[in-house]
Amino acid sequence: MLARAATFALIGVDAVDVTVEADIHPGLPAFTIVGLPDAAVQESRERVRAALVNSEFEFPLRRITVNLAPADFRKAGPGFDLALAGAVLAASGQVSSDPLDRYALCGELGLDGSIRPVRGALAFADRAHRSGREGLVIAAANAAEASLVDGLEVVGVETVRQLADFLAGGWRPPRIHVDAKAMLEAGHEQQVDLAEVRGHHSLKRALEVAAAGGHHMLMIGPPGSGKSMLSRRMPTILPPPTFDEALEATRVHSVAGLLGGEALIARRPFRAPHHSISSAGLVGGGVPPSPGEASLAHNGVLFLDELAEFPRPALEALRQPLEQGSISLTRAQRTVTFPMRFSLLAATNPCPCGNFGAARRECSCHPSAIHRYLSKLSAALVDRIDVMVRVDPPSRQELMSDQAAPSSAEVRARVVAGRARQSERLAGSRARCNADMTTAQARRHCRLPRAAIRALELALDRALLTPRGHGRVLRVARTLADLDGREGIERKDVTEAIGYRDSRVVHASEWIAA
């Protein structure tokens, strides 16, 4: 007898339909899985057998052939267990096969018949909804996450027995209601606040500008000057994620198995990988390809401390994502695309020892080492960084002052207002913020008064600005005006924006390019 069950396989962060066909024939007892299963799927046979027997079902002692269709790509992982069990039960006539046509099944089996959570539940639920399924039967631990998809019935099951009861039509688990709005609001509450950091006025301003325009940012300063401390506060001043943005982030975390029991990533992610990371670790890779740190930072902040210490291939691999907001990894079998639209926040020492330019410490580096250090950052990367700031350790007066610093909430309010102006202006295009503007958009939206044009010309004449830097300065000037609530860009916006181009980095990288 033949039965079918629908399930899904993960390709990157997307789910694709997989049909599990089980056929039971008289013959010597055997259990064969075909359709390019990997080792974990092969082992599924043992889990299904034990789980069925231990749940007091009969495991048919006949010839069982299971096919995973389409058979042309490799199926990996234990997530097919539940669909396999369902198909075998139906093929052996122990449950009705009728609901299997309307519901998809995803879950990993334990030998005792329990059902364990899988990675990518949100992607599965989304796919189930799009392919017109009525509902998704999934491990109970994944149910909350899967319920984020509107209009799909999510059946969370804990044991194979419950699965059978559901398929027989008598049992329904209690409905799960996930209040995404409340979760997003709760996500506002932050552990840290900008107000806790004293001094660092210019760095705070730069963070605000970067947050408001979606600009990538680089901090250059000696160790212990507060680069990391302020970076951790970047998510607190970014606008709260929209539901869709949170959903995208959740999806990536779910695929990577990093959801940690949460149903929704309601905060903007903040990822700070160590500089020993490989390029596969940063942008994704492996077999099958899994998302990297840059994808986990999707819709959030990717903080790269000690930027110059990162291996060059890893930094080079960030070029495409910085340009497109996603990366396509092409492997022999297929191309996988991971989303990665993040705000890059990078920090670096000015030289190998870190003390070059520090007020009270002496740099012990060879002069050429200082030069080489920043020139490691490739032009392609530096080109995408709009805001560069020098960071000094705060002075004693600043540390001791009890002057009230603005809180994250205040800054965030300005950022949100600035972003609102941008999304209104950029409505209908792919760009979400000023940093995303195409050259044509920048030309249209960054009209300058005569005085500001004159300032740009002077900067070009004096080589304070390279032709490449020109476009970046325009975008930052646009953001500065937006933050100030003005439609017109003024000369002071341009002069401030020029200050965010750090000639050291720009020249060092162009020297390499030459």
């Binding site: 760095l203 002069p367 200050g499 750090d502 050291r504």
Partner: protein, 380 residues
């Protein structure tokens, strides 16, 4: 990887000559370079060693029986050396040629031969118009770089040749300044004249070859050893009527250059620095010993030509301060007072935007510049 850069413009046929013996001398220095390195313990001895005739030189560095020495002394192929030089785009000129710079002749340790790249006519100019060597630390501060650049620029504008070593820091800033001022500049390299050293300055090298002159004592393709730098410094001092130290620690190469200049009876000048700065120890000690105080290019011109003498083209005038808005004047005063970053000026985050815009404005006016460490410096 071959680090040599073929000089972009092949120099015009100059008729400059170099005799076989002098070519051989240069090849001998290169062949014995490692022996020299081994036999030296103090850089001051380098000129003494280089003053010796060939056979004594070889004996002094302990290489009489070495394959390298015999190879050069017995089997030297002068035709090939000439071909190598012209292949590298270089011109060789030895001290037997009357066009060899006279300013180099008087000392015993003078190089017997120079390899040249770029505008070889500049060599003749050095004997007519006194040149100025601007030297200093490779790890200069923003102040040092700014002063070196400004001195180079102002001397360049007066068409006074600026001699330096193309090293990182002060040397490069001086060359850059001279090129910006539109004046002649001469880079004396420690290795071959076709090898930009340090390699990160290859852009500057190309510009100097196009518009100035590159000079070296060692044959094409030679990568410098430690001792080659003091050896190079003696040529810089020799080519110049005055050596000005911009920034340098107490025992630095720039002090050695100044000592060579003093030994040759040339002028020595120094740019005063903060007494607390390690990099000001060199120039401040020179000043204490009676070196000429150099604040602007006019101080140099006064030392060379006598006070107020209107030589060497037009004298640079201190630029009058433009009329500044009160707030910009305040910011400028703050930077002049030592506040080098926005954080040292702005008293609140609200103020930073305005301070940054103001400093940017001053930068556009050319009153401020950004040092390599990102701090703001008052332009000289």
């Amino acid at each position: 990887m071959d680090r040599r850069l073929k000089a972009e413009r092949v120099p015009p046929a100059t008729g400059f000559t170099a005799c076989d013996r002098c070519l051989r001398r240069s090849a001998l220095l290169a062949a014995m370079a490692h022996f020299v390195a081994r036999s030296l313990d103090a850089s001051r001895k380098v000129p003494l060693l280089l003053a010796l005739p060939d056979d004594q030189f070889v004996a002094a560095v302990g290489g009489e029986d070495s394959r390298q020495a015999l190879g050069v002394l017995q089997g030297f192929d002068a035709a090939r050396a000439r071909r190598d030089a012209s292949d590298a785009g270089l011109v060789a000129l030895c001290h037997h040629d009357e066009r060899f710079p006279k300013c180099l002749i008087p000392s015993a340790d003078t190089p017997r031969l120079l390899y040249l790249a770029g505008d070889v006519r500049l060599l003749g100019l050095l004997d007519e118009t006194p040149a100025v060597a601007l030297v200093g630390s490779r790890r200069a501060t923003g102040y040092g770089l700014e002063v070196a650049h400004a001195l180079g620029r102002e001397l360049g504008a007066c068409q006074v040749p600026v001699v330096s070593g193309m090293a990182l820091g002060v040397d490069s800033a001086a060359h850059e300044g001279a090129l910006e001022g539109g004046g002649p500049t001469v880079a004396v390299l420690a290795g071959g004249a076709d090898v930009p050293y340090p390699s990160s300055k290859r852009r500057l090298y190309r510009r100097i070859v196009e518009r100035g002159l590159v000079v070296a004592e060692l044959p094409p393709g030679f990568g410098p050893l430690r001792w080659c730098f003091p050896a190079r410094n003696r040529i810089m001092a020799g080519l110049s009527a005055m050596t000005v130290v911009v920034e340098g620690a107490a025992g630095s190469g720039s002090r050695i250059t100044a000592q060579f200049a003093a030994d040759l009876g040339r002028e020595v000048g120094a740019v005063p620095g903060q007494v607390t700065s390690r990099l000001a120890q060199g120039p401040n000690a020179l000043l204490a010993d009676g070196a000429c105080v150099v604040r602007r290019a006019t101080d140099i011109l006064d030392a060379l030509y006598g006070a107020g003498h209107p030589s060497a083209g037009e004298r640079p005038q201190p630029r009058p301060l433009p009329d500044l808005e009160p707030r910009l004047a305040e910011l400028l005063a703050a930077v002049e007072g030592g506040a080098a970053s926005v954080d040292r000026i702005a008293r609140s985050p609200q103020e930073t935007a305005e301070v940054m815009a103001g400093l940017g404005e001053l930068e556009l006016m050319g009153l401020l510049s950004r040092a390599p460490d990102g701090s703001y410096v008052r332009r000289a």
